[in-house]
């Protein structure tokens, strides 16, 4: 068991002349699934990119716990892009640039294709896949490198309900094996099913951070309550 995973201290991010994240200070646990929720433009995806090191922090710092600091982190973007190569070659590429040898990378890619039920599409060009298959390939690519931290940006946004549930079971399985998952989701039902804690952002500010049960029962913040009770999402979905 990991004690603590990541500490943000006063993270502030300015982009294009505007402050997008305002002094976020939290400590996320080293296990389980942390869900980032909030309306569009709240800063969820931005925070994910900041955690992955894609966007520099203007002020403050992110400190990963010792056991995660040197470990691999993988980000699955909301709209993943692929190289103009086959499905399998995309996986092999991701593995090779992370230090896997060519023959090992090929074997690992085959395993991942089997797991994500993409073995029939292995030789197709990645950019010809359907949105659902693209999501599965992006997940396969993120998981292939065996990350210690998995950052997921709306991984089920383009999936039908059945595929979304299948993806959720993959996320649960990965989490059970000890991978820390940080998940951005607009589906409150999904958050309730998967997440152990919730961080809610509103216009770049943190308005709730705590256990999932508390978020759904009594978030203790009028804006979070309004969000839960229908500010863009129906209560039915949350339940």
């Amino acid at each position: 068991m990991r004690a603590a995973s990541v500490q943000f201290s006063n993270i502030t991010v300015d982009l294009r002349g505007a402050t997008r994240l305002h002094g976020l200070t939290h400590t996320l646990s080293g296990t389980g699934i942390t869900a980032l929720v909030g309306s569009n433009g709240a800063g969820k995806s931005l925070l994910l990119k900041v955690l992955h090191g894609l966007i520099p922090i203007t002020r403050g710092q992110v400190r990963w716990a010792k056991d995660l600091a040197g470990e691999r982190r993988a980000l699955m973007r909301q709209q993943p892009d692929f190289l103009r190569r086959s499905v399998q070659e995309n996986l092999v590429f991701a593995l090779e640039i992370n230090g896997w040898k060519s023959n090992q990378a090929r074997l690992r890619s085959e395993e991942m294709l089997d797991w994500m039920q993409l073995e029939q599409s292995a030789n197709l060009m990645a950019n010809t896949l359907s949105p659902g298959e693209r999501s599965r390939l992006a997940m396969a690519r993120a998981l292939a490198i065996e990350p210690a931290v998995l950052l997921l940006d709306e991984p089920t946004a383009s999936l039908d309900p059945e595929s979304a549930l299948a993806m959720e079971s993959v996320i649960s399985f990965v989490q059970d094996r000890g991978t820390k998952v940080i998940l951005v989701s607009h589906s409150l039902g999904q958050v309730r099913r998967l997440a152990s804690d919730v961080l809610m952002l509103d216009q770049g500010q943190s308005i709730f951070f705590g256990p999932t049960d508390k978020f759904f029962s009594n978030p203790g913040n009028p804006r979070a309550s309004a969000f839960l009770h229908g500010a863009g999402f129906s209560l039915d979905e949350a339940v």
Binding site: K49, L54, R72, R77, D81, L83, A94, I97
Partner: protein
């Protein structure tokens, strides 16, 4: 009758060995200049691809400005350079080597600008994904090159077209010496200057045919890239 005589002049010209020698030299000089300028262009593009400093932006703008620099100015600079004391003993002037280098100097800003444009377009598409996958700068550059190779081939053909059609640099630095530095454009200029228009037109036709073939190759590659 007059037209028939023109046509026969054209036909005879195509059997002239000198013509093919000059055409071959033109292609060789411009191909080598393209090769050098594309390599330099890619190196410059790599340096500027992720550079965001003021100097990088200034250099970027400067490259764009150098694309429009007149060929005769580059020719003059190259002439001053190759006739300087450094090359006094080398007898390099009036050979095709300085012609190639001067033409490469002329073509490099164009090559760099076009390569940078192609790489930036692909970087916008997949750059963030590559960074998030953990690609190093060199791995990313290699992937970008591989991703946009049809555009880079089309770029090099455009650069070659510009090279083969220019006259200022090769005339100043090469001097249009028969059998040594004479190329198609300088030969056309000479024929036109002394009033042998039929031959000048026939040589121009060859240049146009080369340009058309190159343009056809670019279009084919672009179509292939789109599909």
């Amino acid at each position: 009758m007059n037209w028939l005589s023109h046509i026969s002049d054209f036909a005879l010209l195509f059997f002239d060995a000198t013509l093919w020698e000059v055409t071959g030299r033109s292609l060789f000089v411009s191909l080598m200049a393209t090769l050098i300028s594309m390599n330099l262009g890619l190196i410059l593009a790599r340096c500027l691809l992720q550079a965001h400093s003021r100097w990088a932006k200034f250099f970027d703008a400067l490259l764009g400005a150098f694309v429009a620099i007149p060929a005769v100015v580059i020719g003059l600079l190259a002439l001053l350079f190759f006739t300087s004391s450094i090359f006094k003993e080398s007898q390099i002037t009036l050979t095709i080597v300085p012609m190639m280098l001067a033409q490469a100097l002329l073509l490099t800003p164009l090559a760099a600008t076009l390569c940078l444009g192609a790489l930036r377009t692909h970087f916008k598409l997949i750059g963030e994904e590559l960074v998030s996958l953990g690609a190093s700068n060199s791995a990313m550059f290699n992937v970008l090159i591989r991703e946009c190779w049809p555009t880079l081939i089309a770029t090099s053909i455009l650069v070659l077209s510009r090279g083969i059609a220019e006259v200022g640099t090769v005339l100043i630095i090469g001097g249009n010496v028969e059998g040594r530095t004479q190329v198609l454009t300088t030969l056309i200029a000479e024929k036109a200057r002394i009033g042998i228009y039929e031959q000048a037109i026939a040589l121009s036709l060859i240049l146009i045919i080369i340009a058309l073939i190159l343009s056809l190759v670019v279009r084919t590659l672009q179509k292939r890239f789109e599909t």
